[in-house]
Symmetry: C2
DNA sequence: CATACGGCTTGATCCACATCAAAGCTGACA
DNA sequence: TGTCAGCTTTGATGTGGATCAAGCCGTATG
């Protein structure tokens, strides 16, 4: 199953309750009693846009899954240089079994609802329910692929290609969420500030702004205000992104 | 258990046979019959330095684990720009359950021996033996951490910091393999050509060469020939690398 | 022995992106 | 209504690393 269909299934499927972990890690293939056990140990937390979910190095006694909203994983050097290393979208998972401190800063980019599980009981569940670790393995492998795709972008792409890649990824995700076919004339809202894009792409916010202006000038994208983007010709955008293949998955 | 101890255990432990997958994925916690089942479906392949193990997009009907030698995972754009996205060291795993084409070019950097398992029986094993997927999950999470560490390097570090980081990582791994304490005055051989380092670090080979010369000039490293490196003061190297914390794991 | 070749170094020059600086836009709030 | 803060754009200038080019070293090859 592709990441694409996982995300859209997750948000669309009627039969799977409101909690992504239930759907992604367990639901489709688990027995009712396994689901019930998960229900018992789960709880919800909400965060406002901009709020920090957890700081790198902090004790982390839960694992969680994003229900709605977008959060970021960020690494920071002592001198303040920052690199976003992952975007957490609905159904994405944070925390890892067998570790009890956070490895990255996790920040809510939009308002976020998370479905949490205390780590101890979750780990016990994993031991008793092999399907959960199998499902987590699939998800982690998807994230690893996305991270490696991003390494190519960070190491070798030009600023223009980086911006085009990011917009293509967001557009693709947006199309999936809305169950559109990946046709032409996509319109959507950028969920990130210029600064957040810069953190993700390994650029400065000025360069991000300039390249977005350039793509607009060249007719690759249309802008309505600062954030609303329309893509008149998706193939042309992909060409700008320099992608050979699928354009990569979003982490 | 840290990646470090996994690697050194793997190579040093007397009780665990010659095959890393046996040790890393199963050995320590599995029953004898589970081990026996793995033995039945495994086989070895060897590759010479420079030889391609598999091309991105090729059909891949096995999973494997590096026994000896070093291999690389590389992505290439149509115009030839290349980015290494992972180094495979002894005990590292390639291939993923549930996918049957390779996502990256895999190339032997040194002579390599791999322990392979045909994918089909391996996947059946995984279903019957939960500990294997649990172990693979741990390993994959380690790789994901390493990839994210690398994203910070690719996105935000200077050329000098990148080189220092790479040398520190190789030095650390080397020290682990030889069971030295992480003391001073480490000496080891660089296993990579300047070009391979450039591919890994998102630089050109000329820049790699210049920065190595600069680190040598500044006394951060000592060079014997082109490849043999001595580190007189490890802390100073770490400082040059700009790392705040553990300096990252090697993928 | 001459020649070639792969890996490496070093120099000269160029340019993409960072940095520094100023100002525009929008929405919140007094 | 003013102003203030956060976000964004745009311009001017600087620079780190890419690119282009030449040559070195060690080793394989005829």
């Amino acid at each position: 199953m592709s990441k694409a269909s996982i995300i859209s299934d997750n948000l669309v499927s009627q039969e799977c309750g409101d909690c992504p972990i239930r759907h992604r890690a367990v639901c489709a293939r688990c027995e009712q009693d396994e689901l019930d056990r998960l229900e018992e140990i789960k709880y919800y937390r909400t965060f406002e846009a901009g709020q920090t979910v957890i700081w790198s190095g902090d004790r982390m006694d839960f694992v969680a899954s994003v229900v709605t909203g977008i959060a970021s994983l960020t690494q920071t050097m002592e001198d303040g240089r920052r690199q976003m290393v992952g975007l957490l979208l609905p159904s994405d998972f944070i925390g890892r079994p067998g570790r009890n401190t956070a490895a990255y800063d996790v920040t809510a980019i939009t308002d976020v609802v998370m479905c949490c599980f205390r780590k101890k009981p979750f780990e016990e569940m994993m031991l008793r329910t092999p399907r959960i670790s199998q499902r987590l393995l699939e998800m982690t492998l998807d994230e690893l692929d996305a991270a490696r795709e991003w390494m190519l972008l960070l190491g070798r792409k030009t600023a223009r290609e980086k911006i085009a890649s990011l917009i293509a990824i967001i557009a693709r995700r947006d199309a999936e969420l809305r169950l559109r076919s990946a046709g032409n004339d996509l319109t959507f809202e950028l969920p990130l500030t210029r600064e957040a894009m810069a953190d993700y792409l390994g650029l400065t916010l000025e360069t991000v702004s300039r390249q977005i202006s350039a793509l607009k000038r060249d007719g690759i994208i249309l802008l309505e205000g600062k954030r609303q983007v329309t893509i008149p010709d998706f193939d042309r955008l992909i060409e700008e992104a320099g992608d050979d293949a699928d354009g990569g998955l979003l982490s």
